[in-house]
């Protein structure tokens, strides 16, 4: 009896605490917007409109809310992959801060090898996904190997790799693949974009991101792997207490390499879905901020696969909607990063919120004068 009520309570607070964090974030963000002299409701509506979740007053020809929404989905896809990558590393006690670099190299190679070729979609897509998997995985494995073999911290290796990848790809883009006008890399061919382009619904054009399906599969695959598979059991044990893991006969070094490789694999998928599906070209020597935002998203998602999915959905609204919001309401685009930061701060205070709730609950109970709850006293 007692047990059941406890479980119900904990699952309730499991939803209540994030909800309170979000409400607090919106309140603080509103205050900031008010200080800037703008209407917070307009701002939030702007984010939703920019993400295709609310109707804009006007649309261009053949465009509609659906167009924006699917565009939102195509940037959501790499965010899900990237946050899953960070999450998996954290589960093994590793901080993969190099997601941006692990996105760029697979994205670059996939663009160069497949994106500029004339392969039809049914050949290009699987090839791109494979490049993402293999190249990202190899980068992750390399970082894990350095940690295992030479005891070099993964943060050092991955930041160094970020620079190396950024400059080397930058050199090749500038030298061989640059667009003469924009100086960015030439856009990849339509057939190799991970989009089912030119769909129409009610006369409105939209592009369906193929990667989203893979991303959703990845979320549940990761969940299964971490909760129900021996591989996940090992990774969790290594992440929580590597001394005990070693004592119990788990190969700690091997699992560090494995977890980092899987983290890189997910980052690689984030890379190919970003560069061949959303951006479709590369700015030389620039690492996408999404690679770093994904760290916040993974933390916000409570370092759990499904949590990452929901956190990605939420944060991407702010990131994606900020351009439209900024140009229509006049609040600088950077407010999106500010809101993400506040969100992260409040979600990091989850424990505090929970304890405050409990204290308030206790206070109200004792105020009612019920000194002994018979159900509790017996337990």
């Amino acid at each position: 009896m007692k047990k059941v009520s406890n479980r119900v309570k904990s699952s309730l607070s499991g939803l209540l605490v994030p909800f309170i964090s979000i409400v607090l974030t919106l309140i603080v963000a509103s205050i900031i917007v008010l200080l800037l002299g703008k209407n917070p409701i307009e701002v939030f509506l702007g984010f939703l409109r920019g993400s295709g979740m609310a109707l804009k007053p006007r649309y261009g020809g053949g465009q509609g809310m659906l167009t924006d929404f699917f565009s939102y989905l195509s940037i959501l896809t790499p965010m899900i992959f990237a946050s899953l990558g960070v999450m998996l590393g954290m589960r093994a006690g590793l901080f993969n801060i190099g997601v941006a670099g692990q996105m760029l190299l697979p994205g670059f190679l996939a663009s160069v090898i497949v994106g500029y070729s004339d392969l039809p979609s049914y050949l290009a897509w699987p090839l791109i996904i494979i490049i993402g998997l293999v190249v990202g995985g190899a980068l992750g494995a390399l970082i894990g190997f350095f940690k295992h073999r030479f005891n070099i911290h993964e943060v050092v290796t991955s930041i160094m790799l970020n620079y190396i990848i950024s400059y080397i790809t930058g050199f090749f883009i500038n030298t061989y693949f640059a667009d003469t006008v924009t100086r960015n890399s030439r856009p990849v061919k339509e057939a190799s974009r991970l989009l089912i382009a030119g769909q129409t619904g009610g006369g409105i054009r939209f592009d369906f991101p193929v990667g989203l399906i893979v991303a959703l599969i990845a979320v549940f695959l990761m969940r299964f792997l971490l909760e129900r598979m021996t591989v996940g059991f090992r990774i969790n044990a290594v992440g929580l207490n590597k001394y005990c893991a070693r004592y119990a006969g788990i190969n700690v070094g091997g699992n560090v390499v494995l977890a980092m490789a899987m983290s890189g694999t997910l980052a690689g998928l984030a890379g190919v879905t970003y560069y061949l599906g959303f951006a479709n070209n590369m700015v030389p020597k620039v690492l996408v901020s999404l690679g770093y935002d994904s760290i916040a998203v993974a933390v916000l998602g409570n370092v759990a696969p499904v949590g990452c999915l929901f956190a990605s959905i939420l944060v991407t609204i702010f990131q994606k909607g900020s351009i439209y919001m900024s140009s229509n309401v006049g609040v600088p685009q950077d407010i999106a990063s500010v809101i993400t930061g506040i969100l992260l701060m409040f979600s990091a205070s989850g424990q505090y919120i929970e304890e405050t709730l409990q204290r308030l609950g206790r206070a109200s109970r004792s105020k009612r004068g019920s000194k002994t709850d018979p159900d509790q006293a017996k337990a």
Partner: protein
């Protein structure tokens, strides 16, 4: 005698699934050493954490110096001159003693708009305090360079520096060697002479007998009673503490040993710092035999155990299990060949504290059938095993198999490890300090487990710092000193005093 300085009235504290303190009422007099005795998980630490402001009681009142107080944090307690030395020290390891002591309450010197911490003045005050109470420390040493006993002295000085009048010691001797314990008890008496009130949380009866004036006994959260230490026998206190008659002697029938299970010959081990910690050690354990390695802490006994289990590499020698060389096998392979290992540090090595009991019980077997099939875990098998082991080994936990092991008491954590290791059904069981920090009831239970395994014909290697434990259980005793085995003999041929002498490196 003096008026009560602390009164606890009808204190009740509940945690999910457990009543840690159940209507406890007691008073502590000014200038006495009051011992709080009870088994692991009896609620001693919780009660004192309430007095120290770390938990708020669900019911009851606290009076300090006759006035009712509401403590919501340790700061409130400090304001009432209450100090606590925790079981696990709260020190910053790369700070000096002085820096640690002033931390959070730094004395400032001012010069115009500038201010800085007056470490020099603080050091002087600390030096003076340490002389007054015989707590020898050098205020400029860094914590990381200090021995455990010295770190504890720093904790005591920290309380004294903050003018604490009521000093709470939470299991202060569990981390100390016998000589250090003596020294600490002297310090406590010194503090009492200095007019301090001391509350000593412990489950070691000898210590209570040695220093305490009165003793409150807790049993499963309830106060059994308060007893005058001078007029109560140790045996009676032990009985009251566990709630039933305890038998200190063990029943160990003589029997023939079988063939050799573990054969360690001429093994040498260097640690990470390239220091030779095990020096040409040889030993043999036969079926049904308990071989105890006796020795003062830090003489290489744990390294021998680690080397056998595969946690440390050997540089010379050989280790065979049932005649098969195992020194090149991985830890996992050695577990599979039949080695169970109860490690010294149960919280760091023995358990993943943030995983639940169910997962911890399967942490060595999760990748075998029936716990997983083709790489997929089978939660039902985990659950069935947990329910079975919790019942058979009497592991007490708030939420059964789902309890996070961190929230369990030390004794029950150890029971869980022993349950897991015994269930591996290995030919060799290595017990390192199996009863460290445990109460009388748990110790008897674990000793019985070890003897049961002996009766089943298992080979048992016991590493213990407790001489009484070695004498009670061992068939054969090996005494280790500076990484070498000085003496190995049938336990019946050795007296406690002789073993003690070998432990000090004395050879005849």
């Amino acid at each position: 005698m003096a008026e009560p300085i602390v009164e606890l009235r009808n204190i009740t504290k509940r945690f999910p699934g457990i009543v840690a303190n159940d209507n406890v009422t007691l008073d502590i007099k000014k200038g006495e050493i009051f011992a709080l005795l009870g088994e692991n998980g009896a609620g001693k630490s919780t009660l004192m954490s309430i007095l120290f402001g770390m938990y708020e009681p669900d019911e009851g009142q606290i009076f300090v110096r006759g006035k009712e107080v509401h403590l919501t944090s340790s700061k409130d307690a400090a304001a009432l001159n209450i100090g606590m030395v925790h079981q696990h020290f709260k020190l910053v390891s790369n700070y000096t003693i002085t820096e640690n002591i002033v931390l959070g309450d730094e004395p400032l010197k001012r010069f115009g708009p500038f201010s800085w911490v007056d470490l020099k003045g603080a050091s002087e005050k600390i030096r003076a305090l340490s002389l007054e109470y015989g707590l020898e420390v050098n205020p400029n040493d860094k914590i990381q360079d200090l021995q455990v006993s010295t770190q504890q002295r720093v904790e005591i000085l920290k309380m004294l520096y903050r003018d604490a009048e009521i000093l709470i010691f939470d299991e202060p001797t569990s981390v100390l060697t016998p000589q250090e314990i003596e020294y600490l008890l002297d310090i406590m008496e010194e503090l009492r002479r200095g007019g301090k009130t001391i509350i000593l949380i412990t489950h070691k009866l000898e210590e209570i007998k040695r220093v305490a004036d009165r003793c409150g006994i807790l049993l499963r959260g309830k106060l059994v009673g308060i007893y005058d230490v001078a007029t109560t026998t140790t045996q009676r206190m032990a009985n009251l503490m566990v709630g039933k008659e305890v038998d200190f002697s063990v029943d160990k029938p003589d029997h023939e040993f079988g063939e050799v299970v573990l054969d360690v010959s001429n093994v040498t081990v260097y640690n990470d710092l390239k220091v030779k910690v095990v020096d040409d050690v040889s030993l043999e354990v036969r079926k049904g035999e308990i071989l105890a390695i006796a020795g003062v802490s830090g003489n290489g006994q744990v390294d021998i155990a680690d080397a056998i289990a595969g946690l440390q590499n050997i540089s010379e020698g050989s280790i065979t299990l049932n005649g098969e060389e195992i020194s090149n096998l991985s830890i996992k392979e050695r577990i599979a060949k039949g080695i169970s290992y109860i490690p010294e540090d149960r919280q760091k090595e023995g358990l993943v504290m943030d995983l639940n009991l169910r997962d911890n019980l399967a942490i060595k077997t999760f990748d075998r059938e029936p716990f997983s099939k083709k790489g997929v875990l089978q939660p039902n098998a985990f659950e069935d095993q947990a329910v079975d082991l919790i019942d058979r080994y009497d592991i007490r936990s708030g939420q059964g198999s789902q309890t996070i092991t961190r929230s369990m008491s030390g004794g029950n954590q150890q029971k869980a490890i022993i349950a897991r290791e015994v269930e591996l059904d290995s030919d060799l069981l290595i017990f390192v300090q199996p009863t460290r920090g445990l109460d009388v009831g748990a110790i008897a239970n674990i000793h019985q487990q070890i003897l049961d395994q002996r009766a089943l014909g298992k080979a048992i290697l016991l590493v213990s710092l407790e001489l009484d434990e070695v004498m009670a259980l061992a068939d054969t005793i090996s005494v280790v000193f500076r990484g070498q085995i000085l003496k190995t003999d049938d336990a019946r041929n050795l007296s406690k005093e002789e073993v003690g002498q070998y432990m000090m490196g004395v050879t005849k």
